[in-house]
Structures are given as structure tokens and as C-alpha cells.
């Protein structure tokens, strides 16, 4: 852990990303205590601009709802969807990639053709279709995003595993009496963790964006506030009160950027060549 801290001190962007992400996560977790009650409740007169009222630092929307409360509660949905979808996508992608890369031949061919098939459909369209068929809801959105975003991870992991499979390390491990599972999980996977984590951070970022887009189109969970639905709310007011759409928009940008930066920080921390 000490080398991680030392490395972070040199890498300011990574540190900033990590701190911001932790902060956003803390706000999301603390939302029910920071802003008790339903964030969809009307609390003041509509369209108060940010920084006008100390009690409502980010102002109110068209219906007089507190934007700060919406942002805090929306962070819960965005982060939950982002991380859950990414976890599911990476799990599927790593499993498929490992099997295809390790066994090769027919297993590789069939798994990669399935991957091709999924990849030919644009991810957002696939997610849109799935949510349209299964109906809106947080679980559906997570599933839809996961289904459309495991393919990149599968490809990268397959390429890495099939290259590692040919190295002397694998032959050496076999001679030492290790089985396929042990070699894959204990020897090869730790070596390909870096690209997988970078990819995972991209998947998290994309998932947050896709969730926002789905909510913007009214296909998110109607019972929950999300950043996407808040932007949709502000869409009609862009000329008069642009801040209603801008506040959640900036939140999305900050979160997505910090996820990417944090991913790089974790990657660097895992690389032994960096531990001097």
C-alpha cells in the first residue's frame, strides 16, 4: 500500500480522479441522510438559480424540486448502474475470453462468433431494445448494459490469454504439476489485470452514460431520480434556465472522467515494474 500512496503523490490526475470518485460515492451513500425525504418533492418556488439561496445551493427546477437533492439521489442510481453493469460485463467478458483463449479451436471459434454477433449490434441500440422489451427498471437497465458491453473485454482477454498460453511459463507450470484452472487463475489472470481494469473503468463510464441516455429517453426507472432524467427535465428550459440540464450534465462529466483516471491509478498500482 505504501508504494501505491507514493506513486499517487506523483500522479496528480490519478489522485484527483480517485478522490473525486470516492467523494461522489460518499455523497451517493449519504444521500438519504443529507437529503431525507423524496427528492421529487417540491421544496421551494421553481427555477431558483444556483448560488442564490444558501439552503438550495444548486437551485430548483421547473417544479421547485431541489437540484442538489436530485443530484445526490441520482448519484446512487448512476453509480449503482455503472458499477453493477461493469462488474457483470467484465465477469462475462473475462470468462468468455479465458475459455476462448485457453482452449482455442472449436471453443474459441464458437465463442468468438457469438461475440462478433453481439458486437455487430450497436451497444446503445441493443440496450434500448432490451429495456423496451423487458420494461424499465434498474435491474433491466443493468442487464441491458451488461449484455451489450462484455464483448470488448472478451476480445482483449482472449488475445492476452492465447499469447500467454504459448509462453514457457505455462509449460513450466505444467511440469510443476499445475492444472489448467490453477494456471489460468493464479498465473495468467494477474498478468492481464492491467488491461482488464482499464477496460472495466471504460465500461463503468460508458454504463453511466448509457443509463443517463436511457433515462433521458424516459426508459430509466420511473420511480427513481437519475442524472439522465434530470437532464431530460431541463431539456425544454435550455433557453430560460440552462442550469437545470447543466447541473446533472456536469455531474456526469466529472464522474465519468474520475472513473477513467481512477482506473489508471489502480492499474499502475498493480504493476510490479512500477514498485521501486
Amino acid at each position: 500500500m505504501t508504494h501505491f500512496a507514493r506513486r499517487l503523490r506523483r500522479d496528480v490526475p490519478a489522485l484527483a480522479g480517485l478522490v473525486t470518485l470516492v467523494l461522489v460515492g460518499a455523497i451517493a451513500l449519504a444521500a438519504p441522510w443529507l437529503y431525507p425525504g423524496d427528492p421529487q418533492d417540491m421544496v421551494a418556488r421553481p427555477l431558483i438559480w444556483p448560488f442564490q439561496d444558501a439552503a438550495l445551493p444548486l437551485g430548483t427546477d421547473r417544479l421547485g424540486r431541489d437540484l442538489a437533492a436530485g443530484l445526490a439521489h441520482g448519484a446512487r442510481v448512476s453509480l449503482l448502474v455503472g458499477f453493477a453493469a461493469a462488474a457483470a460485463a467484465v465477469l462475462v467478458g473475462v470468462t468468455v475470453g479465458c475459455l476462448a483463449g485457453w482452449f482455442g479451436g472449436l471453443v474459441d471459434d464458437s465463442l468468438m462468433r457469438v461475440t462478433d454477433a453481439v458486437q455487430t449490434v450497436p451497444g446503445f441500440v441493443l440496450a434500448l431494445a432490451l429495456v423496451a422489451v423487458m420494461g424499465p427498471g434498474v435491474g433491466t437497465v443493468i442487464l441491458a448494459i451488461a449484455v451489450s458491453s462484455w464483448t470488448g473485454t472478451a476480445r482483449v482477454v482472449r488475445a492476452e490469454v492465447s499469447s500467454w498460453r504459448e509462453r514457457d511459463l505455462v509449460a513450466a507450470c505444467r511440469v510443476m504439476g499445475m492444472g489448467s484452472g490453477e494456471i489460468l487463475i493464479r498465473q495468467i489472470l494477474p498478468n492481464i489485470a492491467s488491461p482488464v481494469i482499464v477496460l472495466a473503468s471504460v465500461v463503468v463510464a460508458v454504463a453511466i452514460l448509457v443509463e443517463s441516455a436511457l433515462s433521458f429517453l424516459g426508459l430509466g426507472d420511473p420511480a427513481l431520480v437519475s442524472w439522465g432524467s434530470m437532464i431530460a427535465e431541463g431539456r425544454g428550459l435550455l433557453r430560460r434556465a440552462w442550469f437545470v440540464a447543466a447541473v446533472p450534465g456536469v455531474a456526469i462529466i466529472i464522474t465519468v472522467v474520475s472513473v477513467s483516471l481512477a482506473g489508471e491509478a489502480v492499474t499502475a498500482a498493480l504493476d510490479p515494474r512500477d514498485r521501486q
Partner: protein, 320 residues
């Protein structure tokens, strides 16, 4: 008592859309316990395939016929679990490039101790002892080191320590010094010789470097295009080689010494390896051989006893 017995081993690689390639053809040899056998041949002669076959590491694209017995256990056709069991405590292997045989994300100590039995402290002590055995002082610091922090020679020593950790009876060294500097090569060879003597290891040394052979081997097996052409004790092979290919190999060494003549050009064996898919019907060396006769092109010579050992040639004998 022979520890390793290979009988009539043939290995054919079959790939989709390619003609089958005969990598090894009817190879038989034995290695006695405690002996060092060098397996010599040029690139593509099948020496690494033979080493991999003995370690049970050939993949499913290879069809293997014949028998390999290590300490009385059959390798060919053994179930994967049986092979795993057999490898622990039976066979260990050291590879050409120690960097690619070590895992870059695990510490040296963990890699040595990985497959050992016992508690964490016991395994650590054993790993530290092994580092001393392979001539690496300051084991305490090295146990915590990463592979990229070591030099090539140190890495190869660590790879040896990992191999020795399995308490093998048969150690297969596949070109163990090829990737190293000349001075480090000598150190690693001396270490191998010491370990072989002190631990009573049986050593199968795969190499194309005749200097290494002279240094370490008791006996030498010469492979050419997938077939054994000559097997002899190391002194006999160097003094009275019987097969024209062996003679060519020895003649191709650069002269060395205070009164060695300066050659305008090194001696070479003309031609190249024949295609092995399928191999020619007669002697595989026929096209490059000065003594070739009609019989050589039609009739494949078998290994027969010669004055020095075994030779597969219709016209064996000293250089004319």
C-alpha cells in the same frame, strides 16, 4: 537401471489444411539414473519436441506413438491427472529464456514456494535454502524481489531453484544457456554439473552448442530431421564420430586455441534440412552427404552398434 526409456517414439503434427509433419520418427533411447545425456541437433531436428514429449507437454495437435517411461511410469497416453501426479517429484524442466518462464507479477519467493507442501514458514525456509543451493546469496532479499529486478543469470538460477523445489529425478534442460552471456553460460553450466553430481540428478540436456556438450555430457544423442543418427559416449563422439552428419557438425566448429589456424571461412554442411511432410524415404541426410549411394536414397538406415556406440548409416566410419 535406466530412469528414462523412450521406445519407438513418433510424433506427427497435424494441422488444419496442412500436410502432417513428422517431427520425430521411431526414436528410441535410454538414460541411466544419474547420467547426463545431451540431445544435439540443429534447429528443426526435433530435439525440443522430444524434450516436450518426455515432459508430457505436447499439445493435442501432436499425435504421439511409441512409449516413454520415466521411473517406470508411462507418459504417452497418460490421463492429465496422472501426468500431474507424475510430474510432481518426477520430472522438472528448465527453459531457454528464464524471463518468459518466470511470472512477472509474482515475487521470487512465492514462485519457488508455490507448489511446495507445508506451512508458509516452512515453504519460505525451503525456498531460501534452494536459493543458496543454486548459488544465490542474500536469499532473504531475493525472496521479496520481482523477476524484472534480476539479471539473466540470476533468473536462470531462480528457474533452476523452482525446478529443484519439486525434487525431480529427471531434469530436462532445454537450451538452458542459449539466452545468456558467455561468462554467465559457464557459471550456469558449472552449477548444473555440481547439482547433477550432488543431488544425483539425471540430466537431459537439449542443446545445439557442442561446447556445452563437451563440458557436461556423459553420452550424446545426435538428432537429424526427426531421427537419431548417432548415440555415443561423449569422448568417443568427439574423437571418432561415425556418422557423416556428426562429423560435419564437429568440423563446423570454429578452431580455437593458441595455434589454431585462421580460416578464411568456417566449414559448413552444404544444403538444408529435408521437408518432413512427408519425409524422404531413404536416409534423411542423403542429399547433404558426401558418401551418399543409391542405397541411402531408398533404404532408411536403422541404428546399429558401431565401434563407438550406435550409428544409423549405411557407410559409417571415420572421415575419409
Amino acid at each position: 537401471m535406466s530412469l528414462l526409456r523412450v521406445s519407438n517414439l513418433s510424433v506427427v503434427f497435424t494441422g488444419r489444411g496442412r500436410p502432417p509433419l513428422v517431427a520425430l520418427d521411431d526414436v528410441s533411447l535410454t538414460v541411466a539414473a544419474g547420467e547426463t545425456l545431451a540431445l544435439v541437433g540443429e534447429s528443426g531436428s526435433g530435439k525440443s519436441t522430444l524434450a516436450l514429449a518426455i515432459a508430457g507437454l505436447l499439445d493435442t495437435a501432436a499425435s504421439v506413438r511409441g512409449q516413454i517411461d520415466v521411473a517406470g511410469h508411462g507418459i504417452v497416453g497418460a490421463a492429465p491427472t496422472a501426468l500431474q501426479h507424475l510430474r510432481r517429484g518426477g520430472i522438472a524442466m528448465v527453459f531457454q529464456d528464464p524471463m518468459s518462464a518466470l511470472n512477472p507479477v509474482h515475487r521470487i519467493g512465492d514462485q519457488i514456494a508455490e507448489t511446495m507442501p507445508g506451512s508458509r514458514a516452512e515453504r519460505r525456509a525451503a525456498a531460501s535454502r534452494l536459493l543458496h543451493v543454486v548459488g544465490l546469496p542474500d536469499a532473504e532479499r531475493l525472496l521479496e524481489a520481482w523477476p524484472h529486478e534480476l539479471s539473466g543469470g540470476m533468473r536462470q538460477r531462480v528457474a533452476l531453484a523452482i525446478a529443484l523445489g519439486q525434487e525431480p529425478r529427471l531434469l530436462i534442460a532445454d537450451e538452458p544457456t542459449t539466452a545468456l552471456d558467455v561468462t554467465i553460460q559457464a557459471q550456469i553450466l558449472r552449477l548444473l554439473a555440481d547439482l547433477q553430481r550432488d543431488l544425483g540428478l539425471t540430466l537431459l540436456l537439449v542443446t545445439h552448442d557442442l561446447g556445452v556438450v563437451a563440458e557436461l555430457a556423459d553420452r550424446v544423442a545426435v538428432l537429424y530431421a526427426g531421427r537419431l543418427v548417432e548415440v555415443a559416449a561423449v569422448d568417443a563422439l568427439f574423437s571418432t564420430p561415425q556418422h557423416p552428419y556428426t562429423q560435419g557438425l564437429l568440423a563446423a566448429r570454429p578452431p580455437f586455441g593458441p595455434d589454431a589456424p585462421m580460416l578464411p571461412r568456417l566449414t559448413e554442411i552444404p544444403g538444408g534440412l529435408p521437408s518432413l511432410s512427408p519425409p524422404p524415404p531413404g536416409c534423411r541426410f542423403a542429399e547433404r552427404c558426401a558418401r551418399v549411394s543409391q542405397r541411402c536414397r531408398e533404404d532408411m538406415p536403422e541404428l546399429r552398434a558401431s565401434s563407438a556406440g550406435l550409428v544409423a548409416c549405411h557407410h559409417p566410419g571415420a572421415t575419409p
